[in-house]
């Protein structure tokens, strides 16, 4: 390798390029922050959906109370007891085992007191009793 003078030698040395370094380690936290923000948004969306579903289920089940009417306490229609025959027919006709069991379970009693009568419990609940 003939190297006659400094200038040419400098030129020769400059042909050796310094190796490129690794990337700065700053992309990882940025990506982590992006994931964190995405997670926050996902959690918020899930919370909104859950609250919506709960609200949708709770609101229709609320029965509007009329101030003059007492709470329903008495039975106006007799509840039919569950017999083996009913159970068999339910199991035979229901689309699934679970729905048959649901049918056999207790149901809400839609009984009300007639308008001209009052429930004793409702009357007592209105009275202020000092003990």
């Amino acid at each position: 390798m003939p190297i006659p003078d400094d200038e040419r030698f400098e030129h020769y040395l400059k042909q050796f390029r310094p190796l490129l370094p690794d990337a700065l380690p700053i992309s990882t936290p940025q990506r982590a922050r992006r994931y964190w923000v995405f997670g926050l948004w996902s959690a918020s969306a899930a919370a909104v959906i859950i609250l919506g579903v709960i609200g949708f289920r709770v609101i229709p089940s609320r029965v509007p109370r009329q101030p003059g009417n007492p709470q329903p306490v008495g039975l106006t229609s007799p509840v039919r007891p569950l017999t083996m025959r009913d159970a068999n027919s339910l199991l035979a006709t229901a689309p699934s085992y679970k729905s048959a069991l649901d049918e056999m379970a207790f149901h809400a009693r839609g009984s009300t007191v007639p308008k001209d009568q009052q429930s004793a419990v409702a009357v007592l609940s209105k009275e202020k009793i000092k003990l």
């Binding site: 390798m1 190297i3 400094d6 030698f9 400098e10 040395l13 400059k14 042909q15 050796f16 390029r17 310094p18 190796l19 490129l20 370094p21 690794d22 700065l24 380690p25 700053i26």
Partner: protein, 169 residues
């Protein structure tokens, strides 16, 4: 894009522009490329965290000075003054001249620290003798004369190695 993002972008641009030369410069002080790279990363991460480089008049010279300080501080902290050992390649050689790259590394490592610094800063850092003098707190003429002396030694070292390779007797 806010100011912080803008300055961060500028700093990342400077890293892409001068990162290779800075890591080479640090490698010629530490001898270990991984430590050199850590020191350069440390410099740039601090710059990103602490603000911008707008106050630095000569950004390139400032980066070399910061890198030098980081490497020397780390060496002082570890209290290690071992002879320079080259663990990995420093250069991408022309025409895949791997032997030439190794030869150059050996020749550089054989130079005294103060001469090696000046050679690397001038050839691969593209710093002028005035910038080097400012960085190393020496006279500009001293920097130039050390460079000429170092270049001569480097050339002799490399030529001797080339000749010994060509003539194995």
């Amino acid at each position: 894009m806010d100011r912080t993002e803008g300055s961060r972008g500028d700093i990342e641009f400077l890293y892409r522009q001068y990162g290779a030369a800075l890591v080479l410069f640090a490698s010629t002080i530490t001898g270990e490329r991984s430590r050199a790279q850590d020191a350069v990363h440390q410099v740039f991460l601090k710059l990103i965290a602490n603000g911008d480089l707008s106050r630095a008049q000569d950004k390139k010279a400032y980066l070399f000075a910061c890198t030098r300080n980081a490497v020397l501080n780390e060496r002082k902290f570890q209290d290690r003054h071992e002879p320079l050992e080259m663990d990995a390649a420093w250069f991408s050689p022309p025409h895949r001249d791997i032997a030439g790259e190794r030869n150059l590394r050996r020749a550089l490592a054989a130079l005294p620290d103060d001469q090696r610094e000046i050679v690397v800063l001038h050839i691969w850092g593209d710093l002028t003798f005035a910038q080097i003098a400012d960085l190393l707190s020496i006279n500009s003429n001293t920097a130039a004369s050390r460079y000429r002396y170092a270049l001569g030694k480097l050339r002799d070292e490399m030529s001797a190695k080339e000749n010994s390779c060509a003539d194995p007797r």
